[in-house]
Symmetry: C2
Subunit: 508 residues, 2 copies
């Protein structure tokens, strides 16, 4: 019977390569290095790397040639940050144990159900960076394809809350809102927070960045003020002003959600279950007691008909009830953009125009914001139910909301002005007629191709609404872009998709 | 109305970074480079890269720091090989158009069906390297989770044949075999090919490497002779010897399958649909007219019961009929390893012992090989049905099979000897009793953790079978490994999984 020599685990010197692989932890190892040979690593394998302080699982990319010196291990930015080491530090490298929790995903793929315990383990491993992109993609796809039942959605939401920070507030009522998206230019949140906070309620709003849309609320708000606040900073803003609008990821509320969102974005895939878990986990982790969920309905919105909206609403209520958060849904018109702008800066400009009660402000955006703020005021004060909208209107028109918004921006780090894009291209009507149809999905795609949300000033500026009569040569919308390449690509897409906006020619 | 300046597409100088990302095409770009800024790229985005000759879609990894010079674009090995350029060549870089065929995958995820046209587009994009690992993972998961109906499996198989090479033979009958796996150490193929070719039939065998097992036939055969043959070389071997055993990937038969297999391996996921499409696409592309499919059944084999085997068999027959290839299935005992070895070199040693009619040869492996060879001889000659096995036995015992096998190895590039591993560890029985149970899945996992199939000599050498009576201290099996790290990791797994082999203690 052979004897096994217990020897020290081999070490390699850390080298920061500066390669941004997003959240995925990647390690680069020389094909000829003694550790690589001894351990028998090959590409796509996963290894464990230990620093004195931390331990990560990373995907191996084998390197041929001179990129690394003998005895070095290259680290991607995500690996570097999670390990928190210095150049030249010694790292221990060993085989990664099999990812046990992925066998639960496999069972789901083959038709089984997730238990609460299993989802907790999966979320815990995802948050710890143990899932590669390939594993994350499989998990996201399985949850969409095999779909999750109510118990699974409740458990997923709870598990997502459990792996992150959780805020506690000393207020009896903490309100929140969310829009399920699918409607470009629907940027009511900053207005609603300003009104509701001005009314004396507490609304610590954490928002997400875009998944598949041209802008998330966090992207838009970032044009006007810093949104990457720490938990401590956020708490200070809320204690001072009663409200904030910050990026949820920066405070590590439901961090698994932020990791999943990157893969969902790459796949352009977001399922109902993930949507519910994503929304409610953020709200519960943020310590909300009451949340209003806006569901726009329209043929090219995310929710296309009343029946789907009712189903989604009932799932949201069920999960809310199970996890002890009061959920109310509101169905709104999702046929066309609400404001004029689509893209962070252009939407920020719309927000300012409404808050400042300017004539240039979009009346649809204003009305929508008042409906939502009113519903929240009613929710928080059932005794005065039905009075909310009138109160919201008075707060907006009196300038109290604008004053509150400025104070919130200052508290978040300082207010700033939206900037316009370098390149624009105006699209005009070729005929005399009426605007018959607007395809919101194409419009979103166009704004994204123009550079939104990564380029803040990129996007679409709408000049017309459905039903508007236009003359030949009258502007329909303007594409804004920060680079020629992106403007050109948006125009190429437009040329290939004339159904983006249909102007019905008048019969003479 | 603004005017758009049509300018030249920006170019960057090609730099080979030597990073092996496997099939995924990755491009590394400086965060501060003018193209990156102008085009607004960020991590996980996909871009199009054009050389004068070729065009690829690649995933962007943004690089901070000094890894790349200004004006350079770094390329992973897969990108470098597909573009086929030289260092410093100018490459055009532009946005990648949306991957249209992935919308078909998305439709499948949401409950739709694939049409034949859609699957052809998906397979064509996969073969062209347009799917990132994230997309591939989603496709593989969707096919498993949403499952494919018969028409989809037929269409998938046909599409996989369509995107690769297809062999034509000038023989009326071309036979082939396949084992659906799940059974470690089941290495009958080299023996069967030798017998069948010695009997005068044509058997151009293309085999796969391991997906989730410790060794594929190609891995094992590679121990004995080169298997990376070109189409032309393979044809020469078959014309000379009537048979060959080569790696299917090297001849680009069903190349999409080889790309999918890497992701299936990372996920340890292979579905029935993908199994059928994988097997039959290879066989059809290889120009086979008759194929025998061995389905081992056992509680820890891939197919666990008779009912599943019958369902799989009927699906295989259905697809075979639709695509004009004669399929016959044979159900075999899948309760325990067939040979003594698990892992490429150890299995190769078993093969040689049987072919050389040595006493040390496994009688189970010998019997299984004769059953299969006999069934193939019967299939090819229905007039003499039932006589096949006797004929196979006579060819093996007379040494004709061994002579034929040597000739095939020589024709493939030269025969070589299996090599033993550097490190071994013998596991002995702690009690007097009978071997009650062997868990094939754990056994496979143990062999993989020891380094198989990447390390040819790594694996498990079995000393007992189910039912064997053992004394205290009698050897049960030996772990073979090429590195201390891997041997240690295998032993750790063994300590945590005592159910791998159960010896029922005798009552005194």
């Amino acid at each position: 019977m052979s004897k096994l020599n217990q020897q020290a685990i081999p070490t390699l010197k850390a080298r920061r390569l500066g390669i941004d692989t997003h959240h995925e932890t990647v390690a680069y190892m020389r094909a000829d290095c003694h550790v690589c040979r001894a351990e028998g690593f090959s590409a796509l394998n996963r290894i464990r790397i230990n620093s004195p302080e931390n331990s990560i699982i990373a995907t191996i990319n084998v390197v041929h040639g001179e990129l690394l010196e003998p005895g070095e291990i290259g680290l991607s930015e995500a690996s570097w940050q999670r390990l928190d080491v210095n150049s030249g530090d010694s790292l221990e490298v060993s085989h990664a144990r099999p990812l046990e929790s992925f066998s639960f995903v496999r069972a789901k793929i083959f038709g089984g159900d997730f238990t609460a315990d299993r989802l907790r383990e999966v979320m815990s491993d995802i948050t710890a960076g143990r899932y590669s992109d390939v594993h994350l993609s499989s998990f996201v796809t399985a949850c969409t394809s095999a779909s999750l039942n109510s118990e699974e959605i409740i458990a997923l939401t709870d598990a997502m809350v459990g792996v992150g920070d959780r805020l506690q507030w000393d207020y009896p009522i903490v309100v929140d809102k969310h829009c399920v998206g699918g409607l470009p230019g629907n940027r009511t949140t900053p207005i609603v927070v300003a009104i509701v906070a001005a009314a004396g309620l507490v609304m610590p709003k954490t928002s997400s960045r875009a998944i598949t849309s041209p802008a998330g609320t966090a992207d838009t708000m970032e044009v006007l003020a810093p949104v990457d606040l720490t938990l401590e900073q956020m708490r200070n803003v809320v204690d001072q002003q009663g409200g904030c609008i910050v990026w949820g990821g920066a405070v590590s509320l439901s961090p698994a959600d932020d990791i999943l969102i990157r893969v969902e974005r790459a796949l352009e895939l977001d399922s109902e279950a993930q949507l519910i878990a994503s929304v409610l986990s953020k709200k519960i982790a943020a310590g909300s007691s009451h949340v209003l969920i806006d569901i726009p309905i329209g043929p090219t919105a995310k929710v296309r008909d009343q029946a789907s909206a009712i189903r989604l609403s009932s799932s949201l209520n069920l999960v809310g009830e199970a996890l002890d958060i009061k959920v109310q849904t509101i169905f709104t018109d999702g046929h066309q953009p609400i404001g004029y702008g689509i893209g962070p800066s252009l939407e920020a400009r719309d927000v300012l125009n409404v808050l400042q009660n300017k004539k240039a402000g979009s009346s649809m955006l204003r009305d929508r914001a008042l409906d939502l703020a009113g519903a929240i005021l009613d929710m928080a004060n059932p005794q005065a139910a039905g009075m909310g909208r009138e109160r919201a209107k008075q707060i907006l028109e009196s300038g109290q909301a604008w004053k509150k918004f400025q104070a919130i921006c200052e508290a978040q780090g300082g207010m700033r002005e939206p900037r316009l894009a370098k390149y624009t291209h105006e699209v005009v009507s070729g005929v005399i007629g009426h605007v018959e149809h607007i395809n919101n999905r194409y419009l979103s795609r166009l704004a994204k191709l123009a550079g939104a949300p990564a380029d803040k000033a990129a996007g679409i500026e709408m000049h017309v609404r459905i039903g508007k009569r236009v003359e030949t040569g009258e502007p329909l919308f303007t594409i804004h872009a920060e680079s020629r390449g992106e403007l050109g690509y948006a125009m190429e897409f437009l040329a290939a998709h004339p159904g983006l906006m249909i102007v019905e020619e008048e019969q003479l």
